[in-house]
Every structure is written in structure tokens, then in C-alpha cells.
């Protein structure tokens, strides 16, 4: 079993749940947050190995979260952007993320990206 903690940040409960199930099945420790603020609280308790980040969220969106994270923690975890927008790739580059996945994605593609970023 391959270890590592993954923080899933998405305002959609179903997305969080299905990704959590899929990642746990792969042996990762999964933490969840429904927006950027909640995610910062999770990070405060312990830095995960990888963060899967939705961009459009209430309370605190992905851009704000990423900026806050970079400002607060030196050497923070790599981020993979998960976005429904057509320009997911551009958004990922904007915040300096290590990878991106456009919704709707193939589950296998996502798991492959997670695996690569935790290797």
C-alpha cells in the first residue's frame, strides 16, 4: 500500500465523496474541505502530501486559498487543479499548480496524476 495524505477541496459533496472513496481505495489518507477557508484549517492541523483543488467555491475560492497557502507555509504541498472550466490548464498555471484535470475526467487519469505527484 502506497502511503500519503491527500486533501480534496471542492464545494460539491458528491465529488468529495467519490474522490475520497477512490483515493482511500488506492491507500491514501484523504482529508476533505468544502472551501478554501476550511482547507486552510485542515492544513493548519497538518500539511498533506498533495492538494486536489477546485477553483470556484464559496467563502474562499481556489485562487485565494492558493495565495494564502503560499504566503503562510514555506514548502507547501503540491496542488493539482480540478476544474470544470474550459481553461483549467490556464488556471493551474496562474496559481503555480503542479497539475490539472478538467471535469469531467476519467478516474484513471486522475489517479495517475496523483500517483505521479506523490512519487
Amino acid at each position: 500500500m502506497i502511503g500519503g495524505s491527500v486533501l480534496v477541496v471542492d464545494d460539491n459533496d458528491d465529488i468529495r465523496e467519490v474522490l475520497g472513496l477512490a483515493l482511500e481505495q488506492e491507500g491514501y489518507v484523504v482529508m476533505q474541505a468544502e472551501n478554501g477557508r476550511a482547507a486552510l484549517e485542515v492544513v493548519a492541523r497538518g500539511m498533506p502530501a498533495l492538494i486536489l483543488l477546485d477553483m470556484k467555491m464559496p467563502v474562499m475560492n481556489g485562487w485565494e486559498f492558493a495565495a494564502e497557502l503560499r504566503r503562510t507555509y514555506a514548502g507547501s504541498a503540491p496542488i493539482v487543479v480540478i476544474s470544470a472550466a474550459e481553461d483549467a490548464r490556464r488556471r493551474a498555471m496562474e496559481i503555480g499548480a503542479q497539475g490539472w484535470v478538467a471535469k469531467p475526467f476519467e478516474l484513471g487519469d486522475l489517479l495517475e496524476i496523483v500517483r505521479r505527484n506523490l512519487a
Binding site: 460539491n12 472513496l21 469531467p104 475526467f105 476519467e106 478516474l107 484513471g108
Partner: protein
């Protein structure tokens, strides 16, 4: 000073200068003449004086010559007598000598011996021979000494004579007895050299006077001779002088008693006036003085004539000069008069010629021409006037023009006196085009145009009326007025129609001036009806832009494009009308208007407000975009759960696996529809995003066809691509384009069959063709085949479903990459083609 002088000289006219020079010349000449005369006169005077002096000298010389002769006689006598001792011998000698001398020359000759010197017997011996009185020619021999009173040795002259041993002595004249004598004496010497007697040769004064009488020629002069002691010897007026002297003092015995002073006093009394001019010459041998006294006036009469002769000469000169001047003036006046006369003749001939020409012109003129004198009486009536008014010239000449042309109607009207140039205000009539109604001979009226001009004739001013028949023009004008009225009526109708239109109508002329604008157009531009509208800055004022943004160029407005290109011009515009909140969208279609010769003279544009339609379209696209976006999340959830369930592996029964896979496929299908919808809206909003990379079109075609063919059994896809074709494009998008074409080809070929894909390279572009052998596209739908959501087979038996966006997106995509898409279709198959520009390195020749 010099400059002032020069200015003055310059101001003097040339003629004045000449006159001045002329006068100066005459003055100089006058001076010369006067001077010449003066000089001549004085030289003449000098000459007269000199001549008189010469004469005086001559007289003196002649007297002296006579006394030389006398001297010779005395010497000879003294020599001859000395040895003689006979009385008879001496007496004969005396008589011979006296007779041999001219009778007026010598009066008497005497030989006087000292007492007892001639003979011891005679105390006195002194024979004297003298000329007889008048009538007696024989000399008279006297012995004066016999007179007791005359004791010659005691006479004063005797001792004087004894002393004259070597030279003859001329003694002072003296009066003796009866005559005044002038004696020339010489001593008679004996052989011992002792003076024994005296020889005397006597001349009496009248004889001397005769010498001079021969000389005196002029009446105005007197010649007198005076002795050394100042006694007068000779004077022509001796008698008068003597009588004057007797009256003024002791009685003179002879002239010798009259002194020169007395003579002067006498003369002063006799002839008052200027001192006579006296020239003197000395007779040196005798000590006499010869004087010629001449009246100066007589003497200088010649000089005086010369002196005064200057006056007539000068007068003559001046008269001549004046005469010349007057003659010249007269000649000049004559000349100028002649010239004036010539000019007058020339002017007359020119005037005659001018009149002749005028007449010729009048005869040939197009207009009727009527000539009138100052009172308006007809003096000229050309053939055209005859034709126009029906009057022959001979019947109207001499009649007033107003009567002939205007008839009686205007006798009281304002035209009364129009053609009487003495009464009318000429400025109102002359050289102005007047339109009046004239009368023909038959009484009919004729509208005419009249232009009266004044011509200067040789016999006073003439007035010529040039008359044109304007009845045709009048008729045309009326016709035109009728036409104009109809046009205005039609125009009003059109305006009413235009104003009731929903669409705006704007028209402009060739100079881009708005000539027409209906109510709808005014509303569209936020104007009150009838407010003028300018195209000059319409783009700036209404911020007109094309639909893709950016302010439109003024000349790109459809109306102006139609005007400049001559073709129908269409355009979609966005505008901000001042006073309105939101922008408006308009579609404009403009067409040129040509005149009968095909020139573009105006353009008209129909402007439709499509703002609400555009807004609706936008709303639809926004809705589409949001919906599509929102659908992505549930699709992701569906797919993820299905895929998660599928990961359970061996635990899944095959039917469950198929069901899960079905869910996943359905989600994929929804995803594809969502993507298409998104693309449509993005394309319509111009927001399609491309990822450009170089790619080989041949490889892409082969790959896509292969993948496509895997899932099909009834259709065969054949690719014919002999050459690679490198282009720049978005691989995924181009794949979609090719898929769409293949999909359509297969879908509308229900009977199966081959789908042929060919790739050709033409010049600088690659052309891809996808050809099927299916049902084709209905003709009526062909023009709309590339519209979005259009489905040519919709609602027919061949409606195989679909959004109707595939071709739309494909065409947009190809055009975004710089290519074209088009098709050919008929029953039995369609052929869709698209082109893409070759990447630069792929182009032949580059």
C-alpha cells in the same frame, strides 16, 4: 542747393527750357552786335583822328617843303648876289628869279646891303622886286630904302639877316606898311667872309593862306596856322575874326595881332557846343603850328552811324527772332490743327466702318434687332424682326417702338415710356434682360426677352434692342412647373410611406449630404422628425462600431460604401445613441441611386434596429454557457462513481459491468453534447480558444479515419493522401472537424458504402475533401447548411437526429485557422471540402 536747382530745372518744362535758351541766345547775340558796333565805332573814330592828324602833318610838311624851296632861293640868291657889283645885274637877277617862281609862291625878293657896302658911292643899295597888284603881271622893282620912313638897316630883321651866315633864318612874321610878311633871310658874305648885306625872300600871308586853302576840303573843319609866339597866321574865317577882334579891343592891323586865345574866345562865341577836335603839327623849320579843328560830330559821323547802327541791327535781330518764334508757333499750331483734322477724319471713317459692320451683323443676327433713336423712334428693323413681328421694315421705320411692339395696351402701364430713352430711367432698361409680352402685326401676343444696349453713333446715341422669342421657353417652363408639382405630390406620398415604415430610411447625395430621413430613422438616431442630420461626424457622434468591436471608419458605413462602390452594401453596426443607456444594434443595407446616364448621384440605406434580437441571442448564449458549465459537475460525479464501481474488478457480475459501462458512455455522450453547445456559444461570441501547433494533415486524417472505422462495419473509410501537408492548427479541434464530416457522411449514407477522404495540395493550401454516396442535401436547405442548429433533414424520414451544430462549428474553426469550407451536393452523395493554409515551410517555392 544743387539738388534744389536740379529739381527746379526738372520742373521747368522742356519747352520752357528751350524758350529760355532761345532768349539767352538772342541776348548774347545782341551783346555781341552792340560790342562789335562799339568797337567798330571807336576804331573808326580813332581812324578819323589819325587821318586828320596825317592831313595836319601833310599840310605842315607841304609848308615846310615850300620853305625849303624858298630856302634854296635865299641861299642861291645870297651866293649869286655876293660878287655882283652892278645894279642892273642885281635887278635883272631879282626879276628873273621872281619870274621863275610860281606866282603864288613868293611875293617879293630883296637884296639889302650895308651902307656903302655895295659901292662906295651909294649909301644904301637895296633893290626889291615884288609881284604887282592884281592885273599886273610884271614884277615891280622898288627901292624901299628911298622911302624916308623906311630905313632898312634899322629894321629889326636886317641885323637878324646879317647873323644868318650859314643857315637861312626864318623870322617871325611881321606887318609892314601894307602886308604881313614872312621873310626868309641870309647874309651876303664878301670874299673875306664878312656879312655885307642880307638877302630876303618874302611871302605875304595871303599866299600862305592859299597853300592851305588848297588843302581845306571839308566844310566842318578849319585849318589855321599860328606862329611860335601864338600869333595867328592863317585862318579861313580871317575876315570874321578881324571884325570880331575890332569889336573886342584895339583894332588889329592884321591877323597877326589876333592871338590864339582870342581865336578860342571867338570860336566859343561863334559855335557853342563841344570842343572841336584839334590836331596839330609843327613846321619845325619855322616854328609854326598847323592846326586842324574839326567838328567832332562831323568827324565822327561815320562812327556815330556805326555806333547807332547797332540799334537797328539789334532791333532787326529781335524782330527776326520774334518773327521766327511766332512763325514756328504758328506752324506748330497749324500742324496740330492738321493732325486733329486728320484724326477727326480717321474717327469718322472708323465710325462709318463700324456702322457698316454693325449693319452687317444686325442683318445676320439670330435675334430680332430693333434700332431706335433717343426718343424710341425705330431707325433699324432687321429681317429677323420682320419675321418675328410680321411688320416689314418700311412700315415701321420712323414710328415709335413702343407703339409698334407694345400696342395700346401699355400706353398707360408701367412699360409706358420704357422705350423712350429721354424719359425712362436708362439704368432700369439698359443692358438688362426684360421679359415682356409684345404684339405681332396680326394682334397675337408674343412673349419676348428684350435686351437694350446703347451704341454711340456718329450722329448721337442709338439704342438697339435685341429681342428673342421666348414662347417656347415659356411653354417649357410651364410644363416644368406642372411636372414639379406632380413630383412634389409623389414625393409627399413617398414621404408618407417612408414615415410609416418600421425600418429607418436614410438617403444622401453624391456630396454625402443627407437628403432624406424618415421618421423611423429619426427615432433610431434619437432625433425629432425633421431635424437635420449630418454624416460628417456620425461615427464619432454615435460611436458606431462594427460587431467585432472597434470604431468604424467613416467610409465603411454601408451608405457611403454604396455611394463609392456602386454596389449594394450591407453591414451590422453597433451604436451608442446619445441619451440612450444601452447600445443599439442595427443592420443596414444600402444601395446606390444612379441617374439616367448611370452616374451614381445618391445612395439610400435601410436601417433596421435588431437590438432586441441580438440581446435575445446573447441571452441564449449566456444561458447555454452556464448550463453547459453546470452540467459538467454531475457528469463528473456520474462517470466517477461508475468508474469507481467498475474498479471492483472480479466482484462484478458481467451484466452489472455492462450496465456500469452504459452509464459511463451515456455520461460521455452528455459530455460531448455539452462540449458542442459550449463551442457553439463560444464560437458565436467569438471566444473559441485554440491551441496552435504544427501538424501533418495526412497523419491526422489517417489516424482519425482509422479510429472512426474501427467502430463501423457497414461503411468503409478510404483515405487518399499521397503527400504530407504541414499546417498550423489545433489538433483536437481539427480532429473534431474531420470527425464531424465523417460522421455526417456515414449518417446520411444509410445504405452503407465507401466514404472517400482525399488530401490534395494546391499552391499554398491543403484541401481536404470528404465524399459520400448517400442521400445528399435537399436543394432548399443547401444555402443554410452552415447555420447553427440548422438541420437540413429535420422532420423528414431521413432525420437522424443531432444538434445541428457540427458543420457550423467546423466551418467557424476552419475559418479561424485561415481556411475555407464549402460543399457540393446532389442526390446520390455530398462532397464537403475544407482548405487550410500550408505552414510557411511547406509552401512550394518557399
Amino acid at each position: 542747393v544743387a539738388q534744389t536747382l536740379l529739381a527746379v530745372i526738372r520742373r521747368i518744362k522742356r519747352t520752357h527750357l528751350l524758350s529760355t535758351l532761345w532768349a539767352l541766345g538772342v541776348l548774347t547775340l545782341t551783346g555781341l552786335v552792340v560790342g562789335f558796333c562799339a568797337i567798330t565805332a571807336s576804331s573808326l573814330e580813332r581812324e578819323a583822328v589819325t587821318r586828320q592828324q596825317v592831313r595836319t602833318d601833310e599840310i605842315a610838311l607841304r609848308i615846310e617843303e615850300k620853305f625849303l624851296v624858298i630856302e634854296q632861293i635865299v641861299r642861291t640868291m645870297a651866293g649869286l648876289v655876293a660878287p655882283m657889283r652892278s645894279r642892273e645885274q642885281v635887278e635883272r637877277l631879282l626879276e628873273t628869279v621872281l619870274e621863275s617862281t610860281p606866282d603864288h609862291f613868293v611875293y617879293g625878293i630883296g637884296v639889302w646891303f650895308k651902307p656903302y657896302a655895295f659901292s662906295p658911292h651909294d649909301r644904301y643899295f637895296g633893290p626889291y622886286v615884288h609881284r604887282g597888284d592884281a592885273g599886273r603881271t610884271r614884277p615891280v622893282l622898288t627901292y624901299e630904302w628911298t622911302t624916308p620912313d623906311y630905313d632898312f638897316p634899322h629894321q629889326p630883321w636886317f641885323p637878324r639877316g646879317l647873323l644868318a651866315r650859314d643857315a637861312v633864318a626864318f623870322i617871325e612874321p611881321y606887318f609892314d606898311t601894307d602886308h604881313a610878311y614872312m621873310s626868309s633871310l641870309m647874309a651876303i658874305l664878301d670874299d673875306r667872309g664878312e656879312a655885307v648885306g642880307v638877302v630876303s625872300v618874302d611871302v605875304i600871308l595871303p599866299q600862305i593862306a592859299r597853300f592851305i586853302e588848297d588843302e581845306a576840303s571839308a566844310a566842318n573843319e578849319t585849318i589855321h596856322v599860328s606862329t611860335r609866339r601864338g600869333a595867328l597866321l592863317v585862318h579861313p574865317a580871317a575876315a570874321a575874326i578881324l571884325s570880331w577882334a575890332r569889336a573886342h579891343g584895339p583894332t588889329p592891323a592884321s591877323l597877326l595881332d589876333v592871338r590864339l586865345d582870342d581865336l578860342r574866345a571867338f570860336q566859343a562865341e561863334q559855335r557853342p557846343g563841344p570842343e572841336p577836335l584839334v590836331t596839330r603839327a609843327a613846321v619845325s623849320k619855322l616854328g609854326w603850328t598847323v592846326a586842324i579843328a574839326a567838328d567832332r560830330r562831323a568827324l565822327f559821323s561815320g562812327a556815330r552811324w556805326v555806333r547807332w547802327g547797332a540799334l537797328p541791327a539789334v532791333a532787326l535781330l529781335w524782330t527776326g527772332m520774334l518773327g521766327l518764334y511766332l512763325l514756328r508757333r504758328r506752324a506748330r499750331r497749324l500742324e496740330s490743327m492738321e493732325r486733329a483734322l486728320e484724326r477727326e477724319e480717321l474717327v469718322q471713317s472708323i465710325l462709318r466702318e463700324s456702322e457698316r459692320r454693325l449693319r452687317a451683323i444686325l442683318e445676320a443676327a439670330l435675334h430680332a434687332v430693333v434700332g431706335m433713336d433717343a426718343r424710341g423712334v425705330i431707325v433699324d428693323w432687321n429681317p429677323q424682326a420682320e419675321a418675328m413681328f410680321g411688320w416689314p421694315a418700311r412700315e415701321v421705320l420712323g414710328r415709335p417702338a413702343s407703339e409698334v411692339l407694345l400696342g395700346e395696351r401699355f400706353q398707360e402701364g408701367h412699360e409706358r415710356g420704357l422705350l423712350d430713352f429721354q424719359r425712362s430711367d436708362q439704368a432700369q432698361v439698359l443692358n438688362r434682360r426684360l421679359e415682356i409680352s409684345a404684339l405681332r402685326r396680326d394682334g397675337s401676343e408674343l412673349p419676348i426677352e428684350l435686351l437694350v444696349t446703347r451704341i454711340q453713333g456718329s450722329e448721337g446715341d442709338l439704342f438697339y434692342a435685341f429681342i428673342a422669342d421666348i414662347s417656347e421657353r415659356k411653354r417649357v417652363e410651364e410644363e416644368r412647373a406642372g411636372l414639379l408639382e406632380r413630383i412634389q405630390q409623389r414625393s409627399a406620398e413617398l414621404q408618407a410611406i417612408l414615415d410609416s415604415m418600421v425600418d429607418g430610411v436614410v438617403a444622401c447625395d453624391a456630396a454625402q449630404r443627407v437628403t432624406l430621413m424618415n421618421h423611423a430613422a429619426s427615432r433610431l438616431f434619437g432625433l425629432a422628425p425633421g431635424v437635420s442630420f449630418s454624416l460628417d461626424d456620425v461615427v464619432e457622434r454615435y460611436r458606431i462600431s462594427s460587431t467585432d468591436g472597434g470604431l468604424m471608419k467613416h467610409d465603411d458605413l454601408p451608405l457611403l460604401r454604396a455611394l463609392s462602390s456602386g454596389a449594394v452594401a450591407r453591414g451590422s453596426l453597433v451604436s451608442h445613441v446619445p441619451g440612450r443607456v444601452s447600445e443599439i444594434h442595427v443592420q443596414s443595407s444600402a444601395a446606390p441611386i444612379r441617374d439616367s446616364r448611370g452616374r451614381i448621384v445618391a445612395a439610400v440605406a435601410v436601417v433596421r434596429d435588431v437590438t432586441s434580437a441580438i440581446e435575445l441571442e446573447h441571452l441564449k448564449d449566456q444561458f447555454l454557457e452556464i448550463t453547459a458549465h453546470e452540467l459538467k459537475t454531475p457528469i463528473t460525479i456520474m462517470k466517477s462513481y461508475a468508474q469507481l464501481a467498475l474498479q471492483d474488478g472480479e466482484g462484478l457480475s458481467p451484466p452489472l459491468r455492462r450496465k456500469l459501462e452504459g452509464i459511463n458512455r451515456g455520461a460521455d455522450r452528455i459530455d460531448q453534447i455539452v462540449r458542442d453547445l459550449l463551442d457553439v456559444s463560444q464560437a458565436y461570441l467569438g471566444r473559441l480558444q485554440l491551441l496552435l501547433t504544427p501538424l501533418d494533415l495526412r497523419e491526422l486524417l489517417e489516424e482519425t479515419a482509422a479510429r472512426f472505422g474501427r467502430d463501423r462495419s457497414r461503411h468503409r473509410v478510404r483515405v487518399r493522401a499521397p503527400l504530407p501537408a504541414l499546417v498550423r492548427g489545433d489538433r483536437r479541434r481539427l480532429e473534431n472537424v474531420i470527425s464531424t464530416l465523417l460522421d455526417n457522411a456515414v449518417r446520411y449514407s444509410p445504405g452503407g458504402g465507401d466514404v472517400e477522404v482525399t488530401l490534395t495540395v494546391e499552391r499554398d493550401e491543403a484541401i481536404v475533401a470528404v465524399e459520400d454516396h448517400g442521400i445528399g442535401i435537399p436543394t432548399k436547405g443547401q444555402s443554410r447548411i452552415f447555420e447553427r442548429f440548422y438541420r437540413a433533414h429535420s422532420g423528414t424520414d431521413q432525420d437522424y437526429g443531432g444538434l445541428g451544430v457540427g458543420l457550423y462549428i467546423s466551418k467557424q474553426m476552419v475559418e479561424l485557422l485561415g481556411g475555407r469550407m464549402w460543399f457540393q451536393s446532389e442526390e446520390g452523395g455530398s462532397r464537403f471540402m475544407f482548405s487550410l493554409p500550408l505552414a510557411a515551410e511547406e509552401r512550394p517555392g518557399s
